[in-house]
């Protein structure tokens, strides 16, 4: 054991007790954390990464630590503390939490108290663990905020979480974690909820702090790109077990376990996009928007008027027949608003969106009356982001997929059943799935059901609003491939809204980049991803983590 080892975990198993016996969350997990090193835990959702992190802090309730040893080494005193045997509510473990091992979470908004200022929350953590007075704690809190590069920390300390942006909140969480100068920082998917540019900043920050303070960082993520950027050591988990451990370069360039290879293939595959043969774009335009502008009305408060948000600012894009047009941008850039305008949910203040119908006529999608006879909705279908919210939990899959066919009076009875079965098989689900309710399916399967519903009416256009962003890597690739197959088969045009550059590079033919309601750049996917012209696009592209530790560019110092 090297002198730098700060945490030693051996044979750790955690079980969730249940009425029908215990469910194993993790089993026989071994790993070491070393000072000055970042260990990434990677695996898809449900693989036990977060449970492992929580077990280190002994906060796994309602689960129980079945067996195993967690040794926390006190480097200066040369002592070891066994954490797994401690009372989860006892004084010893509470002295460790926050002070020696600190944790930051995925969702910074829900892990910060909305009714206390950032400063109060940081000083509380310091006062709890260190013997200092309040003025000193405040001084240290300001120092911590400065360390996480929050501008003007003297002012920022007295603000409330809602006054912070998502990235600033995550910085504040890190500042809170750093307040007591812990030896180990556990970061549970700290960048998953953030935009790529913000993610890059946070990764850079964690890397920098880790180097300057010689902390051990336990970093949990499902994104192989992030792993490649930040890790020194990698632990790959699958179904609650560690399947591979090793240095980052070895795991990426000489993976041993089949699952690691699969993960890498899924991550790298999206970056090998040019390999996919592009369709030659047709000249036939299906939708053209001209100078769409939409400002959400300012809310007239009693005494002051709050300025409205300019969600769309003179947006002009065109969707051609047979192409996949990607709309890319950070959250709040107006891409979802654009989709909603095209689906008639919002009416813009100015501009037009002309849709060329199958029968040769045209409709202006900015006019509510265009949607009244339902014809537009037959030709233009939508796939939603959230696979859980987009399927009615009270209807069977048959009813869900059959609904558009039924209400449009196309099919009923046995014919409808047969068609739903055929659609299910087309999207890669067994026809017998139609009797089940959505809660029986996983996220990827639900998204397939959503796709089946979208293609049921034999549409011309599919608008996919972040249709794959809620899915794990390999499933995301499967769904994208399904859409590609369907496009070729059904002669579809797809408007694909995404924030993930890797997905866009792989999937789209042309890309429009949006920023603050404006289209800043349009071009083919290869152009945009490999040779962006506009400064904003360049910033966006360069912030994307590349799943290869030898090409590390975000955190390179």
């Amino acid at each position: 054991m090297s002198n730098d080892t700060i945490l030693q975990v051996r044979g750790l198993s955690v079980d969730f007790p249940g009425r029908k016996g215990d469910t194993t969350a993790i089993a026989d997990v071994d790993f070491d954390l070393k000072l000055g090193e970042t260990t990434c835990f990677v695996g898809e959702s449900g693989s036990g990464k977060s449970v492992t992190a929580r077990a280190v802090l002994n906060i796994v309730e309602p689960a129980i630590i079945k067996k195993g040893a967690i040794h926390l080494v006190d480097v200066k005193a040369g002592q070891k503390i066994e954490l797994s045997g401690l009372d989860p509510d006892g004084a010893e473990i509470r002295a460790v939490r926050g002070a020696r091992i600190a944790m930051i979470f995925q969702e910074p908004m829900s892990s910060l108290s909305p009714v206390h200022t950032i400063g109060q929350q940081i000083t509380e953590a310091i006062l709890l663990h260190q013997d200092v007075d309040e003025a000193e704690a405040r001084r240290r809190a300001i120092e911590a905020l400065r360390a996480v590069q929050i501008a003007d920390p003297e002012q920022a300390i007295d603000k409330y979480p809602f006054e912070y942006s998502g990235g600033m909140r995550q910085r504040a969480m890190i500042a809170m974690a750093l307040g007591c100068e812990p030896d180990i920082l556990i970061a549970d998917e700290p960048t998953t909820a953030l935009d790529v540019t913000t993610q890059a900043e946070i990764l850079r920050l964690i890397r920098g702090l880790q180097e300057s303070r010689r902390m051990a960082v336990m970093f949990i993520t499902h994104d192989m790109g992030v792993v490649a950027e930040i890790a020194d050591q990698v632990v790959v988990m699958l179904h609650g077990r560690v399947v591979e451990t090793g240095a980052v370069d070895q795991v990426f360039h000489a993976p041993e376990h089949a699952y690691t290879k699969k993960l890498l293939k899924a991550a790298l595959g999206l970056d090998d996009a040019p390999a996919r043969r592009r369709e030659t774009p047709s000249d036939e335009v299906l939708i053209e928007t001209g100078d769409l502008s939409l400002a959400f009305p300012s809310k007239g408060k009693l005494f002051k008027r709050v300025a409205g948000v300019q969600a769309l600012d003179r947006v002009s894009v065109e969707l051609r027949k047979g192409e996949i047009l990607g709309i890319v941008g950070e959250s709040g850039s107006g891409k979802t608003t654009l989709a909603r305008v095209l689906m008639g949910r919002f009416q813009p203040q100015s501009g037009q969106a002309i849709y060329h119908m199958r029968d040769g006529g045209t409709r202006d999608l900015t006019d509510k009356a265009s949607f009244r006879d339902g014809q537009v909705y037959r030709e233009m279908r939508m796939i939603f982001q959230d696979p859980y919210g987009s399927l009615n939990p009270r209807m069977t899959v048959e009813q869900i997929i059959g609904e558009p066919l039924l209400v449009n009076g196309l099919l009923k009875g046995a014919d409808l059943r047969r068609r739903v079965g055929a659609l299910l098989e087309r999207v890669g689900l067994p026809a017998t799935a139609m009797e089940r309710y959505p809660h029986a399916f996983s996220g990827g399967q639900r998204q397939r059901i959503g796709i089946a519903r979208a293609i049921a009416l034999d549409p011309r256009i599919i608008i996919a609003d972040e249709a794959t962003s809620a899915l794990d890597g390999s499933i995301r690739a499967q769904i994208l491939d399904l859409l590609l197959d369907l496009r070729a088969e059904l002669d579809l045009s797809i408007l694909f809204i995404a924030h993930d550059i890797g997905v866009v590079r792989y999937f789209c033919d042309r890309v429009a980049v949006m920023h603050r309601g404006r289209v800043v750049e349009t071009g083919t996917a290869v152009q945009i991803c490999d040779a962006p012209q506009e400064a904003y696009t360049q910033r966006l592209i360069s912030a994307v983590p590349i799943p290869d530790p030898r090409k590390r560019h975000l955190t390179a110092s």
Binding site: Y259, N392, R394, D481
Partner: protein
């Protein structure tokens, strides 16, 4: 070129190797409807299940009040004024051995020579045997079918049977509580159904269409809820013409109760509509080409019927308590109509209460019924939320 060729994509194995698998996909799982899930989850809630059984008993009593009552609830018997409750015995022990034969002990009347007050003493020598399905006084089952069949009665019709004792006019408390159950429960149910109709229509329209209608109804609801209830009820009850028949008063009282009761339900319904309007699957239904009516009826209402049932089941006890309070104050139903509140009016006098504490039995019935309804409502609420766990 695809990363994973569609031919061997693990679809048929339902994405097993990814870690994204839901174990319930195997076998028959996932074919249960929302209602089946709710029923299963509800049946695990032990307190709610016990309460449901109790409520079913109350319901049975209310429906078959005449059948259950051994005595006519209006039958005055001066001989048995304030007769205490007789204990029911089921096993008869005689010299010949044990046998199943329900009986009660008879009364011995002693007259206090100083106060000239009658005191009843249970006479263990006198056994009054009971028979099941006894034919005695006549009543109409469900108010329609004339019959004289009763669950239980003394073998000799003239013998007294006072399971819960008798009131100051010698009327049988047990029979009166049974009849009171009928009125009190139905006031609660009818009142809640009326407020439900009002609440669902008004709240639903407010939530679905929004705009000025929503704003107007919200202000009306806020105004109605700001009114102090007891004085309002008193005022409305006082405005009822005294010449009205008991039936008219009964309906007027339920109307008054639901006049305020609908506001709560309207808010619940409006809230559910607002929440559901933002759901993707409701948007999907619109994009599927569904009309407003179909979106509401087929896609939105099923999502909150369970919530409405829960809200309604929690509103019933409130109605019952309100009716009781009004009747207790003498503003609600009036004798000869029997409700729990009317019965409790008898228990207002502390001196009669000291001699005959069994006059409080209707109070116990109220407490048990209200608690049971609250527990059932709680159980329903826990079971109805599909995203709770």
């Amino acid at each position: 070129m695809s990363i994973i060729p569609p031919a061997d994509s693990p679809d048929t194995r339902l994405e097993a190797p990814s870690g994204d698998i839901d174990p319930r996909i195997d076998g028959n799982a996932g074919t249960e409807s929302q209602w089946q899930l709710i029923r299963r989850r509800f049946s695990k809630h032990r307190l709610a299940m016990i309460s449901l059984v109790i409520l079913a008993l109350f319901g049975f009593v209310a429906l078959f009040a005449g059948f259950i009552s051994p005595n006519d609830p209006g039958d005055v018997k001066a001989r048995y004024t304030f007769a205490p409750p007789q204990g029911l015995h089921f096993i008869d022990r005689t010299e010949e051995g044990w046998s199943f034969r329900p009986y009660v002990y008879g009364y011995d009347v002693e007259i206090d020579p100083v106060a000239l007050r009658r005191t009843f003493v249970i006479d263990e020598e006198k056994k009054i045997y009971l028979t099941f399905f006894k034919r005695s006084w006549e009543y109409k089952l469900f108010g329609l079918i004339p019959t004289d069949l009763h669950l239980i009665g003394p073998e000799k019709t003239r013998d007294p049977l006072y399971i819960f004792g008798a009131d100051r006019l010698g009327r049988d408390m047990f029979s009166r509580v049974a009849y009171g159950t009928q009125i009190s429960l139905s006031v609660g149910l009818v009142g809640v159904i009326m407020s439900l109709v009002l609440g669902v229509i008004i709240g639903g329209a407010a939530g679905y269409f929004g705009g000025w209608f929503d704003a107007a109804t919200q202000r009306v609801i806020e105004f109605l809820r700001s009114l102090p209830t007891i004085p309002l009820w008193m005022g409305l009850a006082a405005a009822m013409p005294s010449g009205w028949s008991p039936l008219q008063t009964y309906f007027a009282i339920t109307l008054i109760l639901s006049f305020l009761g609908w506001t709560e339900l309207a808010r619940v319904v409006r809230g559910r509509f607002l929440a559901l309007n933002g759901e993707d699957y409701v948007a999907a239904a619109r994009y599927d080409g569904c009309s407003h009516g179909r979106v509401i009826v087929r896609h939105m209402v099923p999502a909150f019927t369970s919530h409405i049932i829960t809200a309604a089941s929690l509103a019933v006890p409130g109605m019952i308590l309100a009716e009781t309070a009004l009747s207790f104050l003498g503003l609600g139903l009036q004798a000869p109509v029997i409700s729990w509140g009317v019965l409790l009016q008898e228990a207002q006098n502390i001196r009669t209460l000291a001699t005959a504490p069994w006059l409080l039995v209707p109070g116990a019935a109220i407490v048990i019924a209200v608690l049971a309804m609250n527990f059932v409502g709680d159980g329903l609420r826990d079971a109805a939320d599909p995203y709770a766990n």
